[in-house]
Symmetry: C2
Subunit: 342 residues, 2 copies
């Protein structure tokens, strides 16, 4: 039985989307146990309408406070010790849950991950990682915004954690790793990239393939794409904005004539489905890797299905013991071993 904590008060549509997503996940996977953190009465009322079998796999964890997206994240997490997010994070910290799902404030989730759940030994910074839908299928992209002013060592650790995730959860043998750069020529790059590149080449157990240009990220030209948080965030948000921009341009074109309006009728829906992957989340939310448990961040406007998927994907992550593998990898690295003598 995998134990997963859910921040019931996170996201634009809380508590309903979280409660409904929890319900759907329990229906879909019989080996999940959920710890629902939030206002006791509200949760009790919702859960009271569920079947006995589902109720037996739920525990209500009272939390009286809520952290909003307007609050300064670190201060909010420190002050609101009885917030649904902080309570959920403590459940992971104390080993009562193996993962935490929240659709709340990104900053607060990052802070709760670092301050409450805590890093695995040897991990310098926990990157925010997500499966990005690309032309060649979903690829792992990290760091999406967790750790500014990156050091070369952090990027190497991101490559290591990404490799473990892709091997274990996505079942890709020897996943390729590329580093985002201005160009693919060896002499290009800023100081960070120039320092990280030879270090990545030296790493054992990492299938490092050199640089990738930003335009090829969406083309899926690597299984794992590593960037510093500032660049990763810029690329991810530019993809979102550009998809929206092109869809808007299309709407304008549709309106220009009777013919194009007819054309629109035919292609609107299939096209929307084709590109909606950028906003949707069949692979769950963005993951904070390298902590004492998984912290998964869903989009603020996550709906019922997004929460369900996040819970199911988290369960898979836990079953594959990604945290344990990361801990092993970094403990070995710390002691200078290559794994063979452990």
């Amino acid at each position: 039985m995998v134990h997963i904590a859910v921040d019931i008060m996170g996201g634009d549509f809380c508590p309903n989307s979280n409660l409904e997503g929890a319900y759907d996940a329990l229906q879909a996977d019989k080996d999940i146990f959920l710890l629902l953190a939030g206002p006791e009465e509200t949760i009790r009322e919702a859960v009271g309408a569920w079947s006995r079998e589902l109720q037996d796999r739920v525990s209500i964890i009272p939390a009286s406070e809520v952290i909003t997206t307007e609050e300064a994240p670190v201060a909010a997490v420190r002050k609101k010790k009885d917030s649904s997010l902080a309570v959920g994070a403590r459940l992971v910290r104390e080993g009562k849950a193996s993962a935490l799902i929240s659709a709340g404030s990104t900053g607060a989730i990052l802070a709760a991950g670092q301050l409450i759940v805590g890093r695995l030994p040897g991990v310098q910074r926990p990157p925010l990682a997500a499966m990005l839908p690309t032309q060649k299928g979903p690829k792992l992209f990290l760091d999406l915004g967790a750790n500014v002013d990156a050091k070369p060592e952090w990027l190497c650790q991101f490559a290591r954690m990404g490799t473990i995730y892709m091997e274990r959860v996505q079942h890709i043998a020897s996943p390729s790793v590329k580093l985002v750069n201005l160009g693919v020529e060896e002499e290009k790059g800023n100081a960070l990239i120039k320092a990280a590149n030879p270090m990545l080449r030296e790493m054992e157990g990492i299938n490092y393939q050199g640089f990738i240009e930003s335009r090829d990220v969406i083309m899926g030209e690597a299984d794992i794409i590593v960037a510093d948080a500032f660049t990763g965030n810029a690329i991810l948000k530019t993809i979102e904005g550009t998809v929206e921009f092109v869809m808007n341009a299309m709407k304008d074109v549709f309106k220009t004539s009777f013919l194009t309006a007819l054309g629109a009728l035919a292609i609107k829906k299939p096209l929307k489905e084709k590109v909606r992957g950028f906003k949707a989340s069949e692979h769950g939310g963005a993951m904070l890797l390298g902590l004492n448990g998984l912290v998964m961040k869903c989009h603020g406007n996550a709906g019922r299905e997004d929460i369900k998927n996040a819970i199911l994907k988290s369960a898979q992550f836990v079953r594959e013991d990604v945290c344990g593998r990361i801990r092993d990898a970094f403990t070995e690295a710390d002691t200078g071993g290559d794994g063979s003598d452990v």
Copy 2:
């Protein structure tokens, strides 16, 4: 009469697209004089077929070498002193031309700009800037890749140069300036952004409006969008890649049924025209600002019309005396004056 140098041997379709674009520009603007740098015989032959009136506004500047995109840029510019690019850049350096157009290797153009044309007094780094087509019309976006490991002072200078360009050439009064960041909250950012933000707020004559998220760059939420070269390059290339990705997705959808194929027929062409702005260049190429003359870089696959537009836009830039204004602004800044006592 505006004198403009053209690197005849730059770009994938050289020398033809450059020669044809030069011809079209001379036809379109009677007050342009072109200095065509490249292989004498080839140019003479092409120009020989032009009308007498056009021939009178052309000077052939022999250059026997060519710099390819495969060469290390700085070394190539230093070594190949008789390359069409280096010869063209010297024409600007010596005041024989006010601008240089090239569709050659980006790195070599940046190097020729810095090493041969040279910076205006007070300019720390010349940013690569371009008019980006956005949802709210074309906006100036810089630095697109010229100066890695930016210092906060450079970003402030980029804002100043961008403001002069938008006021003079695009005739926008008090153009708004925003700085690309992870989020719009005041406390967000990496060390560079946190240092540059208060400095930009202090600047006189700059309509600084704070942060912009990458997703809003393409939405055109500022007249001038400032980023360090690494981030600017990442955003620009991500936009290009994502537009291509969505257009490919559309092609797939078109193929799925008879109805969608019919729909495709109707909307394909108008949509292509709507989004082609990202690859085309009605605003000319990307400009290196802050040099002793304009250096304009066209896309490697620039065609006849792109070269023509680049020449016409350069002439406008020269007539508005953007370089002179930048020199004045930075000379004043250097002496501590605010302009009123000069």
